[in-house]
């Protein structure tokens, strides 16, 4: 399986503040990956580095084997939709498509026009007069019209109402279905992306916490419930992500490194959202230490 995106020890510093740190991810081609993390976790920074808009302070990034930068070859291979869908306000959808045709070597205007027509988005009105959902669709169409191999979407649905959100994600799924397009779409809510993604990158506290196929992530986490005991003691031999104590019970969310041997634990499966929240949440015990990829070695 070839790799769409690979980063090793990637970091970005603004002044004395690290926006992204020790970020090592590997995303196989042809997948839709959710890039999830709380606000300020470094999602935008990572996407900007991958899009060649921003230079890393340390570490390395490869997109389809190329270092992101100012070459026509690289720029042709990516599609990028920035946060808040920046468009030239006074230009119409048609104008934007016309510009794209002038600025790109491979430009699929007819497919973009057909998509936008199917969504009944007016082609000749200034984009400033369109709704947020329509603008997001225009942005997606522009990014797709480049016929990129890697599509990077930065919080495309954050500002959309639930209906527009669903429509946008449906468009995205449709686009990802044909061909071997690799997509990375970020959101601070996993809930938005759970249905369209099959791969997860979790950033928290400026670091990668998880990177792997969603099925693998699910298979690797369990909740253990048992009689109350000292957490440090109970967690021996387990990677505890989150621990909650009541007067009578201890509940641990753990990442499995092997089978759970202690028979006093009741072991149950756990949903993806709970896993993500455990990594992101206040009680997370791992916020300061980065984790490596999960799942079978690739």
């Amino acid at each position: 399986m070839s790799v769409a995106i690979q980063t090793t020890g990637l970091g970005k510093r603004y002044g004395s503040v690290w926006a992204l740190r020790d970020c090592s991810v590997s995303v196989p081609r042809g997948h839709v990956s959710a890039l999830v993390g709380p606000n300020g976790a470094g999602k935008t920074t990572l996407l900007k580095i991958l899009a060649g808009l921003s230079a890393p302070s340390m570490g390395e990034a490869w997109v389809l084997g190329r270092v992101p930068g100012q070459t026509g070859e690289f720029l042709d291979s990516i599609g990028y939709l920035a946060q808040d869908v920046p468009l030239y306000k006074r230009l119409s959808t048609d104008d934007h498509l016309g510009l794209g045709a002038h600025l790109n070597r491979h430009w699929d205007a007819s497919a973009a026009r057909a998509r936008l027509a199917a969504l009944r988005i007016p082609a000749d009105r200034p984009v400033a007069t369109l709704s947020g959902g329509q603008r997001a669709q225009v942005g997606l169409s522009l990014a797709l019209a480049k016929r990129p191999e890697v599509l990077l979407l930065d919080e495309p649905v954050a500002a959309l109402d639930p209906l527009a959100r669903r429509e946008f994600l449906a468009s995205l799924t449709e686009a990802a279905a044909d061909g071997d397009l690799s997509v990375i779409v970020s959101s601070h809510l996993l809930h938005d992306l759970e249905r369209v993604c099959d791969h997860l990158i979790l950033l928290a506290a400026s670091r990668t916490q998880l990177c792997g196929g969603i099925d693998d992530v699910l298979a690797a986490h369990r909740v253990l419930v048992g009689p109350r005991r000292d957490v440090a003691d109970a967690g021996r031999g387990l990677t505890v992500i989150k621990a909650t104590q009541t007067t009578r019970q201890t509940r641990l969310l753990v990442r499995l490194d092997g089978p759970v041997l202690d028979p006093s634990w009741a072991v149950t499966e756990v949903g993806l959202e709970d896993i993500v929240l455990a990594y992101m949440g206040e009680g997370s015990m791992l916020a300061a230490s980065p984790l490596t990829a999960i799942g079978p070695a690739r």
Partner: protein, 318 residues
């Protein structure tokens, strides 16, 4: 790439073209009248074998003259409202993220974003300057107002082109630096007006060493017609300035006489004691040299600003 620049700015290009056409029409009409008056005046001079106050010839064209003088503000307005927002708005709206992830490299995008406004400004400045220079040619011929003076110097010849290019470069650099429309506009306005004022007021009169001429003290001699007079002072033998006049005690004893002598006698006596009137001026013939020097200064500054803008845009993150 050109299509992007044109599509984003074609409305402004239309407006600029229309404004230029309107001004052109007005200057053409009044300019033809002025030329006709001037030739009629020359003919009457020849008939009378003497010329009266040529300087008064065009005094009646106040409104049009004001308009022509107002063209001085054109480079500033162009830099302020068209060019300062050019880059700043891309950053403010985030559309640079869109532009920089298309199939053209950032440097190519920047080349076009900078090149076309500079060319447009230079072309526009040249057209305005040519119009105004032509319109003013009878005034220049009679030497009033003085062609080297502020206002008249600034709106004709080649300097308007340099000012326009400088204003554009300044707007681009300010946009690249501040990445916000209002700060970029404020910086463009402040730096442009400030620098233009300082150079016109303090640097321009000294581009070349002024011509110095001495006359007997308190005499009515003047610099040649059309010169830019920098100073006209009566100095004593010690170099002290007596332009306001001498007190009795300051007059050398030998010249005091009985206090009843004629002014002419006193002045020639003062002259023999080293008193003299000194005029410093820039002759009218230096007009093109001064135009070249001033245009050179602003073009060099513009080039430096464009270099700064390139550094800002290419080296910084999106």
């Amino acid at each position: 790439m050109n299509a992007l620049v044109w599509r984003l700015h074609r409305n402004q290009a239309y407006i600029a073209g229309a404004a230029l056409a309107a001004l052109g029409a007005l200057l053409l009409i009044t300019g033809i009248t002025m030329t006709r008056d001037y030739h009629a005046f020359l003919a009457s001079c020849a008939a009378a074998r003497s010329c009266g106050h040529a300087g008064q010839l065009f005094a009646g064209d106040g409104a049009v003259t004001s308009l022509v003088n107002a063209t001085m503000a054109v480079p500033l307005l162009c830099g302020l409202f068209r060019v300062a927002p050019l880059l700043a708005r891309e950053f403010e709206d985030g559309t640079h993220n869109l532009a920089w992830t298309q199939g053209v490299t950032r440097i190519r995008w920047l080349n076009h974003t900078v090149l076309w406004p500079v060319l447009a400004a230079a072309g526009w400045g040249a057209a305005m300057a040519a119009l105004v220079s032509w319109w003013r040619h009878p005034e220049n011929a009679v030497g009033a107002p003085v062609r080297l003076a502020t206002f008249t110097f600034d709106i004709q010849g080649i300097v308007p082109v340099a000012y326009a290019v400088f204003a554009v470069a300044l707007g681009i650099a300010a946009g690249a630096l501040f990445r916000r429309v209002l700060p970029a506009m404020a910086a463009t306005f402040t730096v442009f007006t400030g620098l233009r004022f300082l150079i016109a007021e303090y640097a321009r009169p000294h581009y070349l060493t002024p011509v110095s001429r001495s006359f007997p003290p308190f005499s009515d001699n003047a610099a040649p017609h059309g010169s830019l007079v920098l100073s006209n002072a009566t100095l004593g033998p010690d170099g002290q300035d007596y332009t306001a006049g001498l007190g009795f005690q300051q007059v050398p004893a030998a010249c005091r006489g009985n206090g009843q002598q004629a002014a002419g006698q006193l002045n020639s006596c003062l002259a023999s004691h080293g008193f003299h009137t000194q005029i410093l001026y820039q002759p009218a013939s230096r007009f093109w040299a001064f135009q070249g020097i001033e245009a050179g200064i602003f073009i060099v500054l513009a080039a430096a600003l464009v270099a700064v803008a390139y550094r800002m845009v290419l080296a910084r993150d999106a």
